[in-house]
Symmetry: C2
Subunit: 188 residues, 2 copies
């Protein structure tokens, strides 16, 4: 039976719906990606994950590994590539898994979805999910990588002070006032 | 009985540990923040959340609302302020809740933790959690806000193409090659 990080595909889909709100195809493919990366990750107890897109894929990581956005073990860079890297927390040695677009010819509905060749309302959702389950890891590619130092390790937050302009606590390293009071507009 | 988004405090803590990996004080305070924001949010079925720090707090939002990092309903800006805003998805009208540092005098262990006045190993974890549960919403502040247009609504991804340098799919809007091939270094 096909499993994704120890879950049956039905269990995985149910968890995706519960967390992400709908059975997103990208999360199901993301599940197979996390599964492949975890099976091939370097030895070592502690690992972080680098995700190359903020869209969909981070939720597969959060659902299926201990790495979340808020605990800092999941790092997201907005490169726009559909890829994740599971890497040893301190050395940066890892395995990168991406959706290999050159392997999609046998899976037309995945290709339509991935390259947005059909509008969402024109996509055949059942066929798409069926193709993803049939394809499993066959549409993925994996390689060994060494994550660049800037994404390895935890950044220290440093001291906290009260911003003299807004009166709220902020990290001193960002300046003499908080970044909102420096002009980063959040509210009108 | 004190509840956080419908969960008992014990249930909430158990969910925090399961998702985030440990009973982070920031997530427990974050739970009270989400709870206060949800009780005071403007009418309207659909809402997004803006979180002003990537540290800890996004996980409280992901645990207690339908908004996740991967589904795009949780938006994170790194201002470094311990605050969230729950806002109506289309108008941007919302309620912002922050940890009000001026209300911490009666809660010395929270103050020690929040301003990093004690090293982690010197903190009294049980006392800290006890103070957070005793304080509940008393250490928070809330205000009505209108979220700036740049954080309201969903950004369209646009067309996807194959990067001529690395051969992987990428969003065309970022240029003639993907951002990694433009020089954003991820791997050595």
């Amino acid at each position: 039976m096909t499993t994704i990080c120890g879950y049956s595909t039905d269990e995985c889909l149910a968890r995706v719906v519960k967390f992400h709100g709908h059975p997103a195809p990208g999360l199901l493919i993301g599940g197979f990606m996390v599964d492949m990366a975890m099976r091939n990750k370097p030895a070592g107890e502690f690992f972080d994950v680098l995700c190359e897109t903020p869209v969909c894929l981070p939720d597969a990581v959060q659902l299926l590994t201990p790495c979340t956005y808020g605990n800092g073990w999941l790092k997201v860079v907005d490169i726009g590539r559909f890829a994740i890297t599971v890497f040893e927390k301190y050395s940066g040695k890892g395995v990168r898994v991406h959706l290999d677009a050159s392997k999609l010819d046998d899976y037309p509905e995945i290709k339509n979805w991935f390259f947005k060749l059909k509008r969402k309302e024109e996509q055949d959702r059942d066929k798409l999910i069926g193709e993803i389950l049939a394809a499993g890891p066959r549409i993925l590619g994996a390689s060994s990588v060494l994550v660049d130092a800037k994404h390895v390790g935890k950044k220290k937050g440093g001291p906290t002070a009260i911003c003299p302009k807004c009166g709220e606590a902020y990290p001193v390293k960002t300046g003499t006032t908080c970044r909102a009071c420096q002009g980063e507009v959040l509210y009108k």
